[in-house]
Symmetry: C2
Subunit: 341 residues, 2 copies
DNA sequence: GCCGACTTGGCAAGCGGTTGCCAAGTGTTG
DNA sequence: CAACACTTGGCAACCGCTTGCCAAGTCGGC
């Protein structure tokens, strides 16, 4: 098997130094004199030497790899997030491993355990674990939560509270007096936060708010969600995410309920499809790729500190209401000539 | 650091056997007698032993990891592919590493080299490398091409030829006599194959066919692509993929060119957004997740054979024309009362 | 009862790096 | 010129697991 790749020994021989010197050239910048360093690099170049990442990981316990666990890889909302994380990781010479939890708490846990030894840290996006489980996980290895906040664990989230207030304000300004929130999974932090924020903002604005669901946040669930929401009599439907909202739009179209004439619909995430569907979807978006980027940055930062030390920042990135065609004046108001033209 | 995880030594001690025995229990099924085996497993369970993947990789050269390189991670077309591959990999207890080449030949190569030692094999999706480079790469490590065929390298592709014939037949049956192909990148195998198939099929059907482009397959490029295609006078526009097609639809809408009344538009891939845009998009789709799955299977199969040995299957999965609202009777025919009603 | 074939488990040498410790070399200072 | 503080590079012991080779044990057959 001497056909194999060159090792640190080969480089050391060619450069006429000890293996430790070669190793340090690659790992401890500044530790080796410039002249020696150059000689080693030259030898390495000649031989086409590439450090073996496993051998390196064995002693140093650093793999230059981070894992990102997403609750459902098919949700387009994650694409931007993944993309941002991937790019930032690459810039730091880290490899990003993508892991799909398929909306399953158990699978999520299993995967984290399986990879625990192979990666330097985890990005847990939209984790469905209970808080205490997360605390336990975070105690075992570096973890950054994405779109979820838990006391004592570093996190990056896209601002939901002010965003929800904006949604309510937008709807209120259109004359709506009742909204229904078509909720996401009960173990989704975002679902909980959004409902709390919507309810409070609605109360402040003198609007009624009810919650239906929970629903799996997919297009397929939109049908049932739409029917239930319409039954509440609300004129504004706020869906847990764009996927669900798109499903709702479809069902409403099938039932010949006009959007936004009869009811308004709002989503979350501003996925690519939100501006393609009919009508185009008003949604609370934000720079998801920045969320991914920031999450990686926080994780890298925490890798620099000894375990358990270091800060656990809770970063909140701004969200942004994107108003499109799925929201309009409340049906209740249409008789009013000033509004109905 | 004795706080660290238990090792094979700990297990051996508890079970009262040699470390080699423990190792073999985990790697050579059948090599160890049932009774001993049970004792070892019991000890491992008690200690919560988890094999260290790096130590294992160091000697065995197997990492239980495969890398998937995609030309552009933001292209929704890949999502299903990634998903299929990820699930199949997980089922085989392999980890899938996702790598983004950002449509750059150089970056693609760089990443492959960087990861070469950390993974057991590569899935190269829509690779932009020239054929000979791919042959070179495939000689160095197990490689499966996705949506690209090269002599002597295993591959899985979604059938383009018959699919293109179907597109042409569909357009011909609507009375179209001229089509324009808005080409993808010149170094994209699919772009080349599609154009060849469209041209041949068009010739057979007595239809004229021209090619414009190449264009980056994104929504943003659709504007220029639409303008150029309209100038050709063709009544049917076949875009390299759905993203480009959606960009085309937008531009046409801006220019008040009606689809499908004035021109018909066809895409490729059948991404999620294809049935959301206005009008909904006729497109050549297929089960992309199956492609991902099959690719992983082929790769796993080839990992079972010694390097250079083993078959290099060229798998072709069926594509499927999904007819939606963006294609309709040719404008040339509309004066005909039978068609224009 | 002995022999050969087959099982089973242990020994120990790696795999390719990292890193604590030490010694030689260099330069500075009084 | 001696004393001292830094630099710089080498030695060697791991990191945790795999695996070729060997020895002891089992078992059936003659």
């Amino acid at each position: 098997m001497r056909v194999g790749n060159p090792t640190i020994y080969d480089v050391a021989r060619v450069a006429g130094v000890a293996t430790s010197t070669v190793s340090r050239v690659f790992t401890k910048p500044g530790r080796i004199a410039e002249a020696t360093r150059e000689r080693v690099l030259q030898a390495a170049r000649e031989l086409g030497y590439q450090p073996n990442p496993h051998a390196r990981a064995l002693t140093s316990n650093r793999t230059q790899t981070i894992a990102m666990v997403v609750s459902d890889i098919t949700n387009p909302h994650f694409f931007e997030l993944i993309r941002g994380a991937e790019m930032r990781a690459k810039a730091a010479a880290y490899t990003l491993v993508l892991v799909n939890a398929e909306e399953s708490t158990r699978m999520e846990l299993e995967q984290v355990r399986r990879l625990a030894r192979s990666v330097d840290g985890f990005l847990l996006a939209a984790s469905r674990q209970p808080d205490d489980k997360l605390v336990e996980l975070a105690a075992g290895q570096p973890v950054v939560l994405v779109n979820r906040q838990v006391e004592g664990i570093a996190s990056v989230v896209l601002e939901p509270w002010e965003g929800c207030r904006q949604i309510v304000a937008h709807l209120a300004s259109l004359g709506h007096t009742s909204l229904a929130y078509l909720a996401g999974p009960t173990n989704s932090w975002m679902a909980v936060s959004r409902w709390a924020a919507l309810r409070d903002a609605a109360a402040e604005a003198g609007m009624s708010a009810v919650r239906t669901g929970p629903y799996t946040p997919t297009v397929a669930s939109g049908g049932a969600a739409a029917d239930a929401a319409i039954r509440t009599g609300a004129t504004a439907l706020v869906a847990h995410n764009d996927l669900l909202a798109i499903g709702v739009l479809r069902r409403l179209a099938d039932r010949s309920i006009r959007v936004p004439t009869d009811v308004s619909v709002v989503g979350f995430d501003d996925i690519f499809a939100a501006e393609l569907c009919t009508p185009t979807l008003t949604t609370l978006g934000g720079a998801h790729s920045n969320v991914g980027r920031a999450a990686v940055e926080v994780l890298l930062e925490s890798l620099g500190h000894p375990r358990g030390q270091g800060p656990t920042p809770q970063i909140v990135l701004p969200s942004q209401l994107v108003i499109r065609d799925s929201t309009g004046p409340s049906a209740d108001q249409r008789p009013d000539p000033r509004r109905s033209r």
